[in-house]
C-alpha cells in the first residue's frame, strides 16, 4: 500500500469533554503534521457544550479536517464507532479516548508499525516495556494483572492488552469485526480484538503510556468484576 495515498480517520467518541477535545485536537495536529487525516467527533449530546467547542475548532482547523457527527443522547461506544465509521473517508481508522489517557504522540508509531508490517490492526499495549500506566494504586494494578492473567489463560487472545481502546484498524477490517460484536463497555473492546484474532487478522502491538486522571473518582467494585467474568465466559463460548 502506497504510504502517500493513505488517509487516517480518527474517531473520537465524546461525552462532556469540552476541554479535553480541544486539547486532543491540538495534539493530533501537532503530531501528525505530514499525514492525511480527519478527526470524527461523535458527541452524544453533551450538556457541557462540547459541540460548541468542536465548532470553534472547525473554524480554526477546517471542516474537512474535523467532522462533527453528533447523536442525540448517550448511546454507547460500539454504536459510536459504527456511527463514526459511516462518515469516515479514510482507508484506515483510529479509535481513541477523548480524555487524554490516550496521547496523540503515539499516533506516528501506530502508523509506522502498520506500514512496516502490513498489519490489519495495530493495538496499543500498556503492559510491555516502553509502555506503562500512571495513576493506578496497588490494588488497581493487582486487579488489572489478575484479570489479564485470567484472560490470557482462558482465551489465548494473542495480544497483551485486551481492554485497551487505542487502536488502528484497516477500515474494511473494522467494519467486518464490529458487525459481529454485541458487548458493551470494556468487554466490547475485548470482544473486538478477540474476534479479530479468531478471524486470523494480522495484529501488531505498540507500547503506549496511559495516564489515568479519572481513576480516583471511579472505583473498581464487585459488580465490575462480575461483569468482567461474565464477559470472559461469553467470549470463551462464542468466539
Amino acid at each position: 500500500m502506497d504510504a502517500e495515498t493513505n488517509k487516517y480517520s480518527i474517531i473520537v467518541p465524546t461525552y462532556n469533554e469540552r476541554l479535553n477535545i480541544a486539547l486532543i485536537v491540538y495534539l493530533i495536529f501537532k503530531h501528525l503534521r505530514d499525514v492525511d487525516f480527519e478527526i470524527i467527533v461523535v458527541d452524544d449530546g453533551s450538556p457541557d457544550g462540547t459541540q460548541e467547542i468542536v465548532k470553534q475548532l472547525q473554524k480554526l482547523y477546517g471542516e474537512d479536517r474535523i467532522l462533527l457527527r453528533p447523536r442525540a443522547k448517550k448511546l454507547g461506544l460500539g454504536t459510536a464507532y459504527i456511527h463514526g465509521l459511516k462518515h469516515a473517508s479514510g482507508n484506515f481508522v483510529v479509535i481513541m479516548d477523548a480524555d487524554l489517557s490516550h496521547h496523540p504522540k503515539y499516533l506516528p508509531s501506530f502508523i509506522k508499525k502498520q506500514l512496516e508490517t502490513g498489519a490489519s490492526i495495530v493495538t496499543g499495549t500498556r503492559y510491555v516495556t516502553g509502555g506503562g500506566v500512571h495513576g493506578w494504586n496497588l490494588m488497581r494494578k493487582l486487579t488489572s494483572r489478575g484479570a489479564n492473567v485470567l484472560a490470557q489463560t482462558l482465551l489465548w487472545p494473542g495480544v497483551s492488552d485486551l481492554t485497551g481502546s487505542f487502536r488502528l484498524y484497516k477500515k474494511s477490517v473494522l467494519e467486518d469485526v464490529i458487525s459481529s460484536c454485541v458487548s458493551k463497555g470494556y468487554v466490547f473492546q475485548m470482544e473486538m480484538i478477540v474476534r479479530a484474532s479468531r478471524k486470523g487478522y494480522h495484529i501488531e502491538e505498540v507500547p503506549i503510556t496511559f495516564v489515568d486522571r479519572v481513576f480516583g473518582s471511579s472505583k473498581l467494585g464487585g459488580s465490575e468484576i462480575v461483569e468482567y467474568l461474565k464477559g470472559l465466559i461469553y467470549l470463551m463460548v462464542t468466539t
Binding site: 462532556n16 469540552r18 476541554l19 480541544a22 486539547l23 491540538y26 495534539l27 457541557d48 460548541e52 467547542i53 470553534q56 475548532l57 473554524k59 480554526l60 487524554l100 496521547h103 504522540k105 500498556r126 503492559y127 510491555v128 516495556t129 516502553g130 509502555g131 506503562g132 500506566v133 500512571h134 495513576g135 496497588l138 494494578k141 493487582l142 494483572r145 489478575g146 489479564n148 492473567v149 485470567l150 489463560t153 482462558l154 482465551l155 489465548w156 479468531r198 503510556t209 495516564v211 467470549l235 470463551m236 463460548v237 462464542t238 468466539t239
Partner: protein
C-alpha cells in the same frame, strides 16, 4: 471452532493420557490417581506466580503525567490565542 470447545478437546486429550497412564501402570497407581490434583494445583500456582511477577514488573510512567501537564499548558496557550474557549470546565 469455538474457544471453549478447543479447551474442552485439550481437556479430553489430557484425560485420555491420564486414563492411559492408569491402565499401563508405568507409574504406581496411587501416584497416578493424584496427578489431576497435582496438575490443578500447579496451574493455580503458575497463575499466582504470573500475577505476582507481573505486578512486580508492572510498567509505570510517572514522567508521563508531567509531560502531559506540559502538553496541556502548551495546547491551552495556542488555542486561547486562536480564539478557542479553553476556560476550565
Amino acid at each position: 471452532m469455538k474457544h471453549v470447545l478447543k479447551l474442552f478437546s485439550l481437556l479430553v486429550v489430557i484425560s485420555a493420557l491420564w486414563i492411559g497412564l492408569l491402565q499401563a501402570s508405568i507409574i504406581p497407581q496411587s501416584h497416578t490417581w493424584l496427578l489431576p490434583i497435582y496438575f490443578i494445583v500447579s496451574l493455580g500456582c503458575y497463575g499466582l506466580l504470573m500475577v505476582g511477577v507481573g505486578l512486580m514488573r508492572f510498567p509505570t510512567c510517572p514522567q508521563e503525567a508531567l509531560l502531559l501537564q506540559q502538553d496541556i499548558a502548551e495546547a491551552k496557550d495556542f488555542l486561547k490565542q486562536k480564539g478557542v474557549d479553553v476556560g476550565s470546565d
